[in-house]
Structure formats: C-alpha cells, structure tokens
Symmetry: C2
Subunit: 373 residues, 2 copies
Amino acid sequence: MSSSSASTGTLSYEQAGVNYDLIDPLKVAAQRAAAATAGHLTGHGFSEVAASRGESAYVVDVGPFYLASIVECLGSKALVADEMKALTGRSYYAGIAQDTIAMAVNDLITVGATPLVVQAYWAAGGSDWFGDAQRAQALVEGWKRACDTCGVAWGGGETPALAGIVEPGRIDLAASCTGIISPKSRLSVGDALGAGDAIVLLASSGIHANGLSLARKLVERLPQGYLTEVAPGLTYGDALLAPTALYSPVTEALAKAGVTMHYCANITGHGWRKLLRHPKALTYRIDALPPVPPVLSFIQRHAQQDDREAYSTLNMGAGFALFVGAADAQRTVEIARGLGIDALVAGRVEDGAKQLLIEPLGIRFGDDDLQLR
Amino acid sequence: MSSSSASTGTLSYEQAGVNYDLIDPLKVAAQRAAAATAGHLTGHGFSEVAASRGESAYVVDVGPFYLASIVECLGSKALVADEMKALTGRSYYAGIAQDTIAMAVNDLITVGATPLVVQAYWAAGGSDWFGDAQRAQALVEGWKRACDTCGVAWGGGETPALAGIVEPGRIDLAASCTGIISPKSRLSVGDALGAGDAIVLLASSGIHANGLSLARKLVERLPQGYLTEVAPGLTYGDALLAPTALYSPVTEALAKAGVTMHYCANITGHGWRKLLRHPKALTYRIDALPPVPPVLSFIQRHAQQDDREAYSTLNMGAGFALFVGAADAQRTVEIARGLGIDALVAGRVEDGAKQLLIEPLGIRFGDDDLQLR
C-alpha cells in the first residue's frame, strides 16, 4: 500500500482541491481595503466595532443598539445532494436550504446578535434548474422552515439564472443575514473572555457544511460510493446530508435566561482550531469530548487521518463553542438540551500561552495553527 | 433576409437565453413562503413594513428607525470583462466591482435607506481565479472605491472557491447591503406618490448591468465582435463595461437638502416599465427624454428593436427614477448635476389608468406589461 497513491493513504484537506495559498493574498488585500472604509460610518454619525473585524460578523454601533451583518456561502454540499438525487430519486434540497441558512445564522450569532432578516441568494446554472418543481419546492420549504426555527423574517432575495458562470444543472447558494445586538451588553467580541470561563460545546448534527470537498473526494475510495453504510441503515450520502444544526434558538434562550456569553466560536472550516479564534493569549483546556457522529469517524477512518488532522479539519461532534462564566456552565448545557441540542461542559479557559489542549487525545494546537486574520 | 435567422432580425430578451416561465413559479412560491415569516419579528418586538414586500429592498421597523437589507447579483457582465481581457489584455474588474455594488446600493436606496454596510460575495470557479494578481487587485480596488463613493463600510464577505458549481475561470459576484432609514420619515414605499408629482430621471452611464445576455448574444452578429466601434474610438466591449452609476450620493444629498422622495425606481431589468413599479393606479406621462448612450442605440439598431422593445428592456439613458413634489423637481435636478450625475425633469404623475406614456415616442405601457409581484 503506497501512501502517495490517490486511492489510499491519508487524504488531507489540501489534497481535496482548495488551495488557500492562492486565495489568501487576495483575502489580505481585501481585509485591508475593507478596514480602510470604516471611517465612512462617521459621516452618518455611527462607528464600527473594530473588534468585529476578524470575527464572524461585522458590527456597527448605530446608537440604541448594534447592527450585525454577514453574507455566507453554502459551499459544495449541494453537489452531494445532486449525486444522491441521482442515486435515490429523492430531493435533499430542504436540508440544503437549512445548511445555507445555518452558515449565515450560526456565524451572525457569535457576536451576540439576534438574527432578524435573511435574504436568499440562489444562483442557478440556467432557468431550467428551477423547472424541477420537486427540488425547487423542497428548497423553498426548507428555507422557510429554517427561518421559522431561527425566528427570522425571510426578506427576499435573488434567483438569477447564470448560464456561463454557474455550471449547468448546478446552483450556487448563499444567504445574507442582518441582526441587531440589543441590549448592547449582549455584544460578544471577546472582551469578557478570560481565565476561569467554561467551554461549553454544542453538538453538531454531522459534518454540517464544512469539509465537504474532502468528503466528496473520499467517495472515490468507497466501493459503493455514497451508498456505503456508515452505520446500519445509514448511507454515507444520507449521513453527509444531515442538515446543519441551527444554534440561534440556544443563544436567544441564553440571553433571555440572563446568561452572558463571554465569547463564541462557530466550528466550521479549521475544525477545533476555531476554538483559538480570539486573539487573546489564553489556554483552552479540553477534558471531555462530545460523541463523534458516525459520518465523521467514518471519514476519519477512510481518509486515514490521525486525531490531530481530523480535529483540525472537521467539527468532530462539536458544532458551536460557547465560552461562559463557570457559574453559568451547567445552566447553559441545560438550556441547550431543553431545545433539543445536546451539549457538554468540555473544559475551561486558563491563563497561559495561546493554545488548545485536547487532553483526552493528547493534542495541542498552538497559535500558529490558525491564521484567520 | 430571413427574420427567423439567428444572425439577423429582431433579437429579444427571451431569445438571449433567460426563460422566466421556468423561474417565476419558484419566485411566487418563495415570495409566499417569505411573506409568511414576517410574524417572527413580533417575537423580537419588531414588525415588517409590509409595503416593502415587492419593493427593491426589505424593510423592518426596529423602533428608532427602519432597517433595510438586500442581496443582489451582478449577473453575466463579468463574462464581457473576461472576453475583453482576452482581446485587450486589460483587467476590467475594478469596474465590475462597482457594477456589483451598484446592483445592491441602487436598489437599497429606493426605500429611502442610507446604505451603511456592504458585504462581498465573490465565488470563484477555483482557487486559481484569485491567482491572477492584477485581476484580483482590480476587484479589491474597485470595490473599495465604490464603497468610498457611497460612503458605506465594507464589512467583509466570502471568497469561496466553488469548483464543480462555478465554471472554471469564472466568478459569481454578488453584494449584500444593509442600511437604515432615519429619520423614519425618509421611508419611501410610495405612500406619498400621487398626481402632480414630477418624474426626475437620473442619467445612466451605459447599459449598467442589465440586458447583458442580450448584449452578449448580439456579439455574434458583429464582424469585429466586442472590438466593433459604437462611436469613434469606443469599442462595443469598452462601452458595455462602463461601470454602473452609483446613485446613493444623490439620494443622501436630497435628504440633507430636505427634498422628500415620494417614491423611486431603480431602472434595471424591464427597462422603463420599472416606472410602473408601484401598485397604485396612476398615469406616468413622459414628455422629455434623456440622451441615449451610444452603446444602447447601437444595441437597439443591431438587435433591430423598435423603440417599444428597447425601452421595455434597456435603461435607454435613464438609470434611476425619482418621484418628487413638483416644487422640488428643479432642485432635485440641480443636486444630481452638482454631484456629476446628469438629470432632467422628464414628466409628471397624473390621475388615471395605470400606464406609462412616453409621448415623444408614442409608446404606451399598461399595467399588464410589468408583473413583478
């Protein structure tokens, strides 16, 4: 068995086709140019919350409250839905709709925002995409249901047919979300994050919508492809397509219960390294792990990833991290569970070098393992 | 000469490849589902401005002011930039960036909003798109410059590489925009629109970013393609790529000057039929026309469109319509001109059947010529 073969050996995220070395210079240039526009808000009597640059959503102080906004892309998960439709005849686009909204909403809430309005961006490869009534209806119904779960108004959106830009038969899905942070004390950009805080992890429902390039690449290694079972009666394709958990009901319930979030991280790309998101020099010590969804242990096994690689890429059962005062930790878990989202107190924040210590697995991630800013 | 030939005869928008019959059922289903989510705002102590459903931006009453949000797609104009790059070696993506922001900002301001934050959505067909440093830099610089012109903060955005969804070498560009309507009296959803109002048209800079499917289809008829001259020294490609005018400086200046907009319409798809956008039964009588940009008269001539077809598809020199009290009309024109955007008092609103009468051309559009809601 050759470790350099395409069909065996460790499969990393980079091998799955996304080259960040090409994207990153643009991102840096864009971030610099974007930061230079903040002064325009002064002309309107407002100002940006500078600490939100580098966070998951952008925050502006508009006086009586903060305004938060974001646009987020689904990524390539719709390609799995298309493959599974061909194999099973079923439409998975209700779940795909939820995934798309989750990408936006779960990011927006990290800054303490209540999501208010979602806009749909559905760019198809041609008008004919919308001619499949079953699929189109599933997309609409799933989108509506996710809005209902999150208590947001669906404001509208765009449904362009972009032949020549989007591939024939495909759709590029994204969502924008606008919310407010009110009262202003709900702002969560890490000012209150510090030693002694508890780390509460909210359960993921599966792979969510990150790591799909890797998951799709892996299919080539599976003799039955997407129909390979990851657990009795559960195919790889169905497991991958479990819709992303929506966490805004939890953050809203916490606010109503008077639990102050000191910080949060939506665990998406970069897996558990996202726990190192805040720039503060702090040590995050994990002593309890959530159960790993079958589809993720399946991916880890077949991609021959060690724990370090898997936890640095996939959510491994933790979809969202909440940093709260130790006294609020147990209540946070109970509130999440009361809403049907499993949770656990996974560890604590300590003074010390910036690092994440996943003690049950003997893994350490340092500051240089995550470069987001 | 056969009128059914692909290379001659009238070229309509439908022939250019967008089939609204396939998209419209989905749009209707989505609009219904979206409208049914409005009640969620009550749970947060807010409410939607119901009249904004069907308008260009969605508006929520958040107490001290209104919140407006939108997501908009560039469409296929980037394909022209790619063709012209191959022909001239130049990058047109600074202008393309402005076009994308214009699509969002020019829509957002129709409801009376001050745009505050723009988010970038740049979905490429692969990481390598961003490897062309000249093009990527032009996109960043143009985006920044458009934000500067509009006085908006660039909050951030998404730069996904979507191989398998977006075509190789292409990019799907969109922008989301969030703003506020403050004071609340600036809300412009047509309540004040009525007989006696003046119709002020702001000049377009060219085709803007609507009608590009038609414009691209037309290239097949031109012996020198995009390098055909539309005016001495100006190629068809360069003329098409003139960046869309940004109108938010005008609407902001009008507000500062105390001019109340009774209503506005961003003239995009459906050309001048957009003047019929508001549901009220009113007659819009046009007695003066703005000059037609050379590229649009060129398209009309080569597509063999009569005036009715041209004015129902293209902006024909009018990029944005402002409906103001007759006493404010001349001042509105002067304010726009002072900002470098030509304008004219083109006509007036009258009691009567819902119709648009373009008297200098003998054209009438009735209510059934525009179905947007």
